[in-house]
C-alpha cells in the first residue's frame, strides 16, 4: 500500500492531491507507466525533467526503486517566498 502525492500544477493534471495504490510497481518508471494508463496527460507531465520526486520524504532520482515506498511525492518546480 503506497500513497502518491501530487503538488502544484501536477495536482491539476492528476485531478486529485493524493492516490492510494495497492501496488505501485518496482520502480518509478513502472509507477509512471501505471499512472499513464488512466491519464496520458499525467504520464507526460510526470516525465518532465523539471519534476522532482521524493520517496518516503527523501529526494530520489527519476528511476529510483520503490522497494519499501510508503509515500511517493511528485513535485513540479518549486517556488516559495
Amino acid at each position: 500500500m503506497a500513497r502518491i502525492l501530487f503538488f502544484g500544477r501536477l495536482r491539476d493534471v492528476a485531478g486529485c492531491a493524493a492516490l492510494e495504490l495497492e501496488q505501485c510497481g518496482a520502480d518509478l518508471g513502472a509507477l509512471r507507466d501505471l499512472l499513464t494508463r488512466d491519464n496520458a496527460a499525467l504520464g507526460a507531465a510526470l516525465r518532465d525533467q523539471s519534476v522532482r520526486v521524493a520517496v518516503n520524504q527523501e529526494m530520489v532520482a527519476h528511476d529510483a526503486s520503490l522497494e519499501g515506498a510508503r509515500e511517493i511525492a511528485f513535485m513540479p518546480p518549486l517556488s516559495g517566498g
Binding site: 502525492l5 503538488f7 502544484g8 500544477r9 521524493a54 520524504q57 511525492a73 513535485m75 513540479p76 518546480p77 518549486l78 517556488s79 516559495g80 517566498g81
Partner: protein
C-alpha cells in the same frame, strides 16, 4: 534558530521583536527580509507546501547557511494558504557579529526559498489562476550560494 511554516497571518515587526528580544551582546548585525504579496492584477496568492518534508528541507539548508556564515541566530517564517495583497509571505532574519555575514545569509536563504524550497505558489487573477515557477534570474541568483546547494 526558529523555522515556522504557518497558515496564519504574521506581523514582520513582531517577528523582529522576538528575534532581537534576547539582546545578546555578541551580535553586531541583524539583516532581515520580508516578502510581501503584491496587488494589482493579483487578487490573492495560494501557497501550498508538503507538510514534514518542507520543514525538514528548509531546516537542513538553514543549518548549512548558519554554519557557513557563523550566524548567532536565524529565523524563518513562511506563510501558506490564501495570502492577500499587502500581507507578508515570508520573513527571514539573521544575526551575526558583522554585517557581511548577516546580509549574505539572508540573501542565500531567500534565493533558496524562491527556487528550491518545497512550496507551490498560484496567483489568483481576474482572468483565472496561474502557477508561478522560478524565473531564470531566480535560478541564476541561487547558483551564487554554494552553501545552499
Amino acid at each position: 534558530m526558529q523555522i515556522r511554516i504557518t497558515p496564519d497571518r504574521f506581523a514582520p515587526e513582531q517577528e523582529l521583536a522576538m528575534f532581537l528580544g534576547d539582546g545578546r551582546e555578541d551580535a553586531g548585525a541583524c539583516a532581515t527580509f520580508t516578502g510581501l504579496c503584491r496587488g494589482g492584477a493579483v487578487r490573492w496568492l495560494e501557497l501550498e507546501h508538503y507538510p514534514g518534508f518542507t520543514e525538514a528541507r528548509i531546516a537542513a539548508i538553514a543549518e548549512r547557511v548558519a554554519e557557513a556564515r557563523k550566524l548567532l541566530d536565524l529565523r524563518i517564517v513562511h506563510r501558506t494558504g490564501r495570502i492577500a495583497p499587502g500581507e507578508a509571505i515570508v520573513f527571514v532574519a539573521a544575526l551575526a557579529p558583522h554585517r557581511s555575514e548577516a546580509f549574505a545569509a539572508v540573501e542565500a536563504l531567500m534565493d533558496y526559498l524562491k527556487t528550491d524550497a518545497p512550496f507551490w505558489k498560484r496567483e489568483m487573477r481576474e482572468t483565472g489562476a496561474a502557477w508561478i515557477e522560478p524565473t531564470a534570474q531566480d535560478i541564476t541568483r541561487r547558483a551564487r550560494h554554494k552553501e545552499t546547494r
